[in-house]
């Protein structure tokens, strides 16, 4: 079981967009800049005319680690923690897990695609390698 986020009016779209298969990132309606984490103001132009927008969900592994430590007794290891840069939202990174392959198969620069894992009311954006 993963620790889950407490939903509020600002983060709800990000954490539940997966129900519709959408990765939703906050974007400024005035200047078009994507930003993360979601907030009610654009960090580029300070506009409060902002809303989430669905992105394609493709990206690239910026960096990663293979986690071996069981941070609690029931944790299954090893697994990959990665920082993914999204193709459609330059400068936005997501901490995530790369799943669906051996941990030894992950490398910086790998092309990846979002996949959602549902736990309770949360849809976690995880990523799989694409060919």
């Amino acid at each position: 079981m993963r620790p889950l986020p407490r939903l509020d009016s600002i983060n709800r779209d990000f954490w539940t967009g997966g129900e519709q298969g959408e990765l939703r990132i906050m974007c400024c309606n005035d200047c078009g800049t994507f930003f993360h984490p979601p907030r009610p103001v654009c960090r580029h132009c300070l506009s409060d005319h902002v809303a989430t927008k669905a992105v394609s969900g493709t990206g690239v592994v910026d960096t990663f680690t293979i986690n071996h430590q069981k941070w609690h007794p029931k944790m299954e290891v090893p697994f990959v923690i990665a920082r993914v840069e999204l193709d459609d939202a330059p400068g936005v990174y997501l901490t995530t897990n790369i799943v669906g392959c051996e941990v030894s198969e992950v490398d910086i620069g790998d092309r990846v695609q979002v996949t959602f894992e549902k736990q309770d009311d949360i849809f976690l954006p995880l990523f799989v390698k694409t060919a």
Partner: protein
């Protein structure tokens, strides 16, 4: 330079450093305060300021059990200025804040301190409970749901970039832990006083690649105190004053995953903009190593070598050894000296600049030292000088 406009570290103090200590954390703090007062020849009545990081943290008492409010009241301090909080440029930001107060005439002698009680709290949860919530919020929500539950997993990702981009090897990175453990053998107060070999390092189990268990500091119980005094008040002080020659604490984004690069790099760059000293003037470097990789990045960030060259700079360990050209973490760093959480580095810089290191004292009459805390996403650097 008019010394009346400057701020100095005067008395320094340290409690016993251990694991699962029974002595109350307030008393550990008092032990360190008394040692610092004794060294400076000051009495508590002369203290008019207090500064700490991160203040009392009720939901994680082991991390920070003693806040400024409690210390001021417990010791009867008449404070004309004080501060204690976590939203600051990492642990030594508490010293930076004190310098600001002193230079603006709000205080003359400020107790800066950091007390940690993480090992005892873990051993005695009934006394020091961790408050857990059903759901995570704030910045933790962006990492914890992916089981990135420890800073080890965040720093490991930066370290992996060095492995892939600059060919950092485990044998190179090992030199931080090996140097720490060698130095700690000469520090009677160090937490871990056992030698370490390269073979032992290489066979240590992985935590989060490329960081192994020996790259990480360990929960510690201790208190460290640095008294920061005004230049105009130095005639009240009997120990050799150490001038705070420059300070920096630059942050781009306080985020574990949105920052393009670690805060140490901007902080190191900015430190040298505020002084005529150059990296070549530094006689010893006391660089934050809660994870070994952080010290390596500080070497790059402070311009002791180029970005990406940290691994080759420390290769073989001679350059950063006690008798090397840039002695590093001469008390054992956090990895072997104990997780004093940032303050240990400034404490040791002062010890070395005063020539009081005993068996671990570096040769050659050191006059300039750099001490840092954090590294990313928060970072603080202090340049310290004996005039």
């Amino acid at each position: 330079m008019n010394k009346n406009n400057e701020a100095y570290i005067t008395g320094i103090g340290q409690s016993e450093i251990g694991k699962n200590l029974l002595r109350h954390p307030l008393l550990l703090t008092v032990d360190a305060v008394k040692e610092a007062l004794d060294e400076a020849g000051l009495s508590i009545a002369q203290i008019d300021g207090v500064s700490t990081y991160p203040g009392r943290v009720p939901q994680m008492l082991g991390f920070s059990p003693i806040g400024a409010d409690e210390l001021i009241d417990a010791l009867g301090i008449k404070a004309t200025w004080y501060a204690g909080g976590g939203e600051i440029s990492s642990q030594l930001g508490a010293v930076v804040a004190a310098v600001g107060a002193i230079r603006t005439g709000q205080a003359r002698h400020v107790i800066c301190y950091r007390t940690v009680y993480e090992a005892a709290a873990l051993a005695r949860p009934e006394e020091y409970p961790m408050q857990r919530r059903d759901r995570v919020e704030g910045s933790a929500q962006w990492t914890a749901p992916f089981n990135a539950l420890s800073p080890a997993t965040w720093f490991a990702q930066y370290a992996m970039r060095h492995v892939k981009k600059y060919r950092l090897t485990r044998e190179q990175l090992a030199q931080i832990a090996l140097t720490d453990r060698a130095n700690a053998l000469l520090n009677p107060r160090a937490l871990v006083r056992e030698p370490l070999t390269m073979d032992e390092y290489l066979s240590s189990r992985m935590v989060a690649e490329p960081l192994c268990l020996l790259d990480c500091d360990r929960y510690t119980d201790a208190s460290t105190v640095l008294i920061v005094s005004a230049g105009e008040a130095l005639d009240e002080v009997k120990c050799t004053p150490i001038r705070i020659a420059a300070m920096a604490g630059s942050v781009d984004r306080h985020s574990w995953d949105q920052a393009e690069w670690m805060a140490s790099y901007a902080t190191g760059r900015d430190l040298w903009k505020r002084t005529d000293y150059k990296p070549a003037d530094v006689d010893t470097a006391q660089l934050y190593d809660g994870f070994s990789f952080l010290a390596l990045t500080w070497l790059e960030a402070l311009g002791f070598c180029d970005v990406g060259e940290g691994g080759r700079f420390i290769e073989g360990g001679k350059r950063i050894a006690l008798d090397g050209e840039l002695p590093l973490n001469t008390f054992g760093g956090q990895i072997a000296g104990g997780r004093l959480h940032g303050f240990g580095f400034a404490h040791e810089a002062v010890v070395q600049l005063r020539g009081l290191g005993g068996e671990r004292q570096i040769k050659g009459n050191p006059k300039v030292a750099v001490a840092t805390s954090g590294g990313g996403p928060l970072a603080t650097a202090l340049l310290l000088a004996r005039d």
